[in-house]
Amino acid sequence: MNNEHTVKSYEEELQHLTDSVIKMGSLTETQLVDSMDAIIKVDKDSIDKIIKSDEEINKFRSKIDTQIMTLLVKRAPMAIDLRETISSLKISQDLERIGDLSKSNAKKVKPLPLDLPDELLSNLKRLGDLVIKQLNDVIDSYVNKNFDKAKDVWEKDEQVDDLTYIAMESVIEFLSKDKKNLDFSTHLIFATKNLERAGDHITNIAESICYLIKGEYLKGNRPKGKVIQE
């Protein structure tokens, strides 16, 4: 948008809202990266820090809610401003859920043995790396209001689905070798599923960004990976 609002404080309020969403996105991304690191390195010392960081994300969610309520009451936003406001509300909800999933994954590090074989974790790492990249890209598309990039993220969720399937297969295979692995393997299965769900929230964010930019929802069904189709 080239032109600014005649009322400068309105312009500032919208900018503050966008800034809050970007900061919340950045915190969520850091938390996701940390929780993946903790799993892959079986780093039990970092669990508390990651759980704590979720509180910060939740605070942002409340702050954004308040900013949106104020904007709606004071400005009755229209057109692009309305879409910006509503999209921010939806994006912040999805970011908060991603934060919850990262926190949940951090908690799953506790029962893991320190000597997990690399081949068990490598597929989970591939999945984690992809979800982190998806989150990074979707936040980037929000910052730059880049429709194509957001749509690309939306389409790439298919790969998240496929990697989820592969990661789950590796854990189940490991589990089938020895029943003693049952306890912590279950945690790894849930962690894998959490990453897949985080991927779904990222596609929701991509949809919100596409709507924000063009005022139309993406048409058709999102491409689904094997795990969903089967």
Binding site: M1, N3, E4, H5, T6, V7, Y10, A76, P77, M78, A79, I80, D81, L82, R83, K214, G215, E216
Partner: protein
């Protein structure tokens, strides 16, 4: 899809050397509310004044192009303006009841248009018009009191009752709520919702929120040109034209 009630084709309006409207092409659907928005002086009031030929009374005004109601050109010299205004009623920004009784305010129009020959018929028209304008219950016991003694909102509803007393097909409203408080405004908006079942309504408003609330179609005018027209929901959620977006989001000028 609604039928088109009013169609303007390449409508131009000049006040002396100044051109006020430029090639306006706009279709207004029957039994729908169309809101016209735009900054002051953009031509929206000039446009609606063409629909009942109010511009005829301005000597220096010249109109070219066409306006059709039900497919009949209304700018032709042969057309009887009085009967046109019977079909196209108007409500103005400031309530302007006649300095007469509430009853006379309503019965005046039917009388001059030769309707309601007997007292009973006139009584019926007055009651029906006031009921349609949601004013009957408030004034039924004081029909002989002056219309000017009513509150602002009541006066505006009296003017709406007066407009509908001659059974028009179209009602033009030029900022009908700009002088009213929010409660009176809500009553008029509720009334517009009801009236659109019977009449084709065109409303000029400076309130975006009002345009969204009351209309199904919205046209945005700027410097005498119709910049964009479309479904109200589309205009206020995702307009096609950047000027429209700038105007409705408060980024104008």
């Amino acid at each position: 899809m609604s039928d088109i009630k009013i169609k303007s084709k390449n409508l131009n309006v000049y006040y002396g050397n100044k051109q006020a409207l430029f090639d306006v092409n706009l279709d207004l659907n029957e039994k729908e509310v169309t809101a016209l928005i735009g900054p002051s002086g953009c031509g929206k009031s000039t446009f609606i004044r063409c629909i009942n030929r109010m511009n005829d009374v301005i000597d220096i005004c010249k109109v070219t192009g066409n306006i059709e109601i039900d497919g009949i050109e209304i700018n032709s010299k042969e057309l009887d303006v009085v009967s046109l205004r019977e079909r196209v009623g108007m409500v103005f920004q400031k309530p302007n009841p006649f300095p007469k009784s509430i009853y006379d305010n309503i019965s005046y129009g039917p009388k001059i248009h030769g309707k309601g020959e007997s007292k009973n018929e006139l009584d019926e028209i007055v009651e029906n018009s006031l009921r349609k304008a949601a004013l009957w219950e408030e004034v039924k016991d004081r029909l002989n009191e002056p219309g000017t003694g009513l509150s602002g909102g009541q006066q505006q509803r009296l003017c709406i009752a007066r407009a509908i007393s001659v059974n028009p097909e179209v009602i033009l409203m030029d900022e009908p709520c700009s002088a009213l408080d929010p409660i009176a405004t809500a009553k008029i908006e509720e009334l517009i919702d009801e009236l659109k079942k019977t009449y084709t309504i065109v409303i000029v408003t400076h309130s975006m929120a009002q345009a969204v609330r009351v209309s199904q179609k919205t046209g945005f005018f700027h410097l005498g040109k119709l910049i964009e027209v479309g479904k109200t929901e589309k205009i206020f959620k995702n307009p096609d034209n950047k000027m429209t977006q700038d105007y409705i989001t408060g980024r104008f000028g």
